[in-house]
């Protein structure tokens, strides 16, 4: 670590600048050396490529691996620019930088600081590469949705599709669901046995029993045996253990879930900070298990990084003061005005289609409502004129108005608060323990299942309502055509 002449005033505060930068570079994966930061302040070109690569590592949601390293620098640069842009990065100078890494290190330094100021970047990166030691399960649905892999290339149906094809696909899907359910039940039963048999032998009292990863490590410390015989022990994919966590709450024997707790593994990350990493099919790719030494090595690396993050948090104040000075040395930019950066190769199509749909639906709804409301209002006014006026009349009217307002308010809340009580994100470790010491972020499996079941009931009710409406609509349409007999399919 380079020791510069330390300004006594700065030293009186928490830590010095070199310490802060050194901690930062240690806490980031393959972080650039502190020297790079210093050079970037003076906009030296030799610091540029390292910063592009670092930004790429930070912004790319894909797990680190050899695949990332093989991307060319200019491709990385382009992707970094677009990612920053989509996050709302304010400075336009970044978008104008050349992509060959020849200049612009100061801009990149500013971009990195912007990201660091917005969120706990080192912690998030640590969380991404974490080695799960326990039997993991995620509580929220984000990762499940994000883990949809690539669709197999199938023939794109250009023309209209026979409804029987759709029915066949639906049947196939139901069959696969049943298969999944039975596999998960078996998994729960096995997990339950493993937890039971190894009860009492974990060194950590709050855990109490071994997880599958730990037991497997004990069984086979060399890691020589493979599950599906897939090649040599070279590419130990850290993403593999994530595949070991496949339980869906509620599946399997009830006894499994009774005493089960979901222990929050990373109390350092607040729920909002969690960004479930995308893992397109990575977990199932590798089938090797952890030899003890690799696990140890990874754990120790993570410990070093954690210590670096702690040091960074203690000393980051100095860094921000420094960054303000760096920003000061840049010339202020002209306001963007109406000119959008045109050199970014963007094609605005994703998401547009869906929004269009929604807009159209809402517009149709609006039309319908306008018609119906007007009609009814006219009819009602006519009727109301006939009735008498009186204090109870206006009282009942006011009462009705209030009830309606309350109902509509509740309806609006349904979509305003989209996820209800702050649902914990990120993976949790399955731990079997009796009621006792529980961390404040730990969840009881039983309660979680209750919440999920009530959500399920709501969704099912909505589905039934929609189906009923569809049926009514179909009946109406069929009734409009004389001579047509409509036999609805048997309700399910």
């Amino acid at each position: 670590m380079r020791r510069r002449r330390v300004d006594p005033a700065a030293g009186a505060r928490a830590g010095t600048l070199p310490e802060a930068i050194a901690a930062l570079s240690r806490s980031l994966p393959s972080g650039p050396s502190p020297e790079i930061f210093r050079r970037a302040k003076f906009d030296r070109p030799d610091a540029t490529s390292a910063l592009w690569q670092l930004l790429f590592r930070v912004l790319s949601p894909l797990p680190a691996g050899s695949a990332l390293a093989s991307i060319a620098l200019d491709v990385q640069a382009r992707l970094v620019k677009s990612a920053l842009c989509s996050q709302g990065y304010p400075r336009l100078a970044l978008a104008q930088l050349p992509e060959d890494g020849s200049q612009g290190s100061r801009e990149l330094l500013l971009a990195l600081s912007w990201l660091l100021a917005r969120g706990p970047v080192p912690e998030q990166m640590l969380a991404r590469t974490r080695v799960p030691l326990g039997d993991e399960m995620t509580v929220c649905q984000c990762e499940a949705l994000a883990s949809l892999g690539p669709p197999a290339p199938h023939v794109e149906t250009e023309g209209p599709v026979d409804v029987r094809h759709v029915q066949w696909l639906m049947g196939k899907l139901r069959f696969r669901w049943r298969q999944l359910v039975s596999s998960q039940q078996e998994q729960c039963a096995l997990l339950s046995k493993i937890h039971l048999y190894t009860h009492g032998c974990h060194s950590d009292q709050s855990l109490g029993h071994l997880s599958v990863t730990e037991a497997e490590m004990l069984r086979d410390p060399e890691g020589g045996q493979q599950v599906s015989g897939a090649g040599a022990a070279q590419n130990l994919d850290l993403a593999y253990p994530k595949g070991l966590h496949f339980c869906t709450p509620g599946m399997g024997p009830r006894t499994f879930w009774n005493d089960l707790w979901l222990v929050c593994e990373q109390p350092g990350l607040l729920p909002g900070d969690w960004a479930a990493p995308l893992d397109p099919g990575g977990a199932s790719a590798c089938s090797l298990l952890f030899p003890l030494r690799v696990l140890l090595r990874t754990l120790e690396q993570e410990n070093r990084r954690l210590e670096a993050v702690l040091a960074w948090r203690r000393t980051e104040l100095v860094f921000w003061r420094w960054m303000d000075t760096v920003l000061g040395t840049c010339a202020p930019e002209a306001p963007a005005a109406a000119s959008q950066p045109t050199f970014l190769p963007w094609v605005p199509e994703c998401g547009d289609g869906e929004l269009e749909l929604v807009v159209r639906e809402l517009q149709t709804l609006e039309e319908e409502l306008r018609e119906a409301a007007e009609r009814r209002r006219v009819a009602w006014e006519a009727k109301a004129r006939g009735c008498g006026r009186g204090p109870e009349w206006s009282a009942t009217r006011r009462a009705s108005r209030e009830t309606v307002e309350k109902e509509l308010g509740a309806l609006q809340r349904c979509w305003e608060q989209d996820s209800g009580p702050a649902q914990a994100h990120g993976p949790h470790r399955l731990v079997r323990r009796e009621d006792g010491a529980a961390g404040d972020r730990d969840l009881r499996a039983a309660e979680l299942i209750r919440t999920l079941r009530s959500q399920e009931a709501c969704l099912e009710a909505m589905l039934r309502q929609l189906q009923g409406q569809c049926r009514q609509e179909l009946a109406r349409l069929a009734g409009a055509v004389p001579g047509l007999i409509w036999i609805p399919p048997p309700g399910r």
Binding site: S86, A152, V358, Q412
Partner: protein
């Protein structure tokens, strides 16, 4: 026949769900294999040669410097093991019949597998371990021997014996490592009971010390990090906001743009709003009010819903008018997926790769 556009969407969604199921099934099966293997009798792993295993394997585990056992020691061990083996073979012949009748569920926690049910057989020497496979496992030469009258498998007990390093609870320590460890002197013969099952001996497993240390340190550091965050220094937070504001003003002072994530979240909320509103409207329109009060309420509801629909439409228009560059986009010239927002990047990428249009309306 279904109309083209919605049928394409349907088929694409169904196909996507089918693929997701298949993938999940694969992962489940993999973990099932692992779990099943754990619950069976644990096989000995690796080679069990008498010569000391290669250095890298045991470097972390053994704090003592590697010392190669002398040929003398090796020979003595060989003799001893042969004698033990013979004893075992003799005993096994005697107890083979009894073994098979033994109830599979042995008392956990007791090494002594006392066949209470088989009175005919002579009392077992303690440590005739693991009845499950005893009849079936051939002794592989020098390598495995059943535990003789010792009855203890030191590697499992976290006892005062200072063998934490090698006491990993797996198969008996490699004889080489055992030789190295001087504490092993009293029981020179390598201990290798036949079949270790999780069911009987699972609770005696002990994680290796190095691992325990690293794991506890890991947990401690995470907890420290969390406590540090919750009691975060106000100064640092203030400095960060100041910096962000400075960045904003330095770049022309335009109001902060929406990030793609925010746009996406808002769009999702509005979609949900649309479906809920539609349901409610249908319900109201198909309801038949009986008396004037119900009619009045129905009317009010419809007017209220109309206002809400108007609001949602307005917000949607605002979203659509958002500056283009902050919306999810697709790189046209590079092969790598873009990741601007979680759900849309997949569509972009896979459309590029497979040329199919998952769920998009055209």
């Amino acid at each position: 026949m279904l109309p083209a556009d919605c049928s394409r969407r349907l088929v694409a969604e169904l196909q996507g769900a089918l693929d997701a199921c298949a993938q999940r099934q694969l992962q489940l099966e993999q973990s099932l294999r692992v779990c099943r293997r754990l619950l069976q009798a644990w096989e000995p792993t690796g080679t069990w040669a008498w010569e000391p295993p290669p250095e890298p394997e045991t470097n972390e585990e053994d704090p003592l410097p590697a010392c190669i056992p002398s040929p003398q020691d090796l020979k003595e061990l060989e003799f001893l093991t042969q004698a033990l083996e013979k004893a075992v073979r003799v005993r096994r012949r005697i107890t083979k019949a009894g073994e098979r009748n033994k109830a599979p569920s042995l008392k956990s926690g007791s090494f002594v597998t006392s066949p209470g049910t088989t009175a005919s057989t002579p009392p077992q020497p303690p440590g005739q371990a693991g009845g499950h496979a005893s009849g079936t496992r051939p002794t592989k030469g020098l390598r495995q021997t059943t535990v003789p009258a010792k009855g203890r498998s030191e590697r499992w007990l976290p006892s005062g014996q200072d063998r934490t390093r090698v006491g990993i609870g797996a198969r008996a320590p490699r004889p080489g490592a055992g030789l190295r460890n001087q504490h092993m002197a009293p029981s020179a013969a390598p201990q290798a009971p036949e079949a270790f099952t999780l069911k009987e001996k699972g609770h005696l497993l002990r994680l290796p010390a190095a691992f325990r240390k690293a794991a506890s340190q890991n947990l401690r550091l995470w907890v420290q990090l969390s406590s540090m965050q919750t009691s975060d220094s106000m100064d640092a937070a203030a400095a960060k906001t100041q910096f962000l504001q400075n960045m904003q003003t330095a770049s022309g002072g335009s109001q902060p743009r929406f990030s793609a994530a925010e746009v996406e979240a808002e769009a999702r909320r509005l979609r949900k709003a649309c479906s809920l509103l539609r349901l409610r409207v249908r319900k109201e329109l198909s309801a038949a009010p009986v008396d004037w009060m119900q009619e009045y309420r129905c009317l009010l509801t419809l007017e209220g819903l109309q206002a809400m629909v108007g609001q949602c439409l307005q917000r949607l228009q605002e979203l659509r008018a958002a500056p283009r560059s902050c919306r999810p986009w697709r790189p046209s010239s590079c092969e790598w997926p873009c990741w601007t927002s979680r759900s849309t990047w997949k569509r972009c990428f896979w459309k590029r790769r497979w040329g199919c249009n998952r769920g998009l309306q055209r």
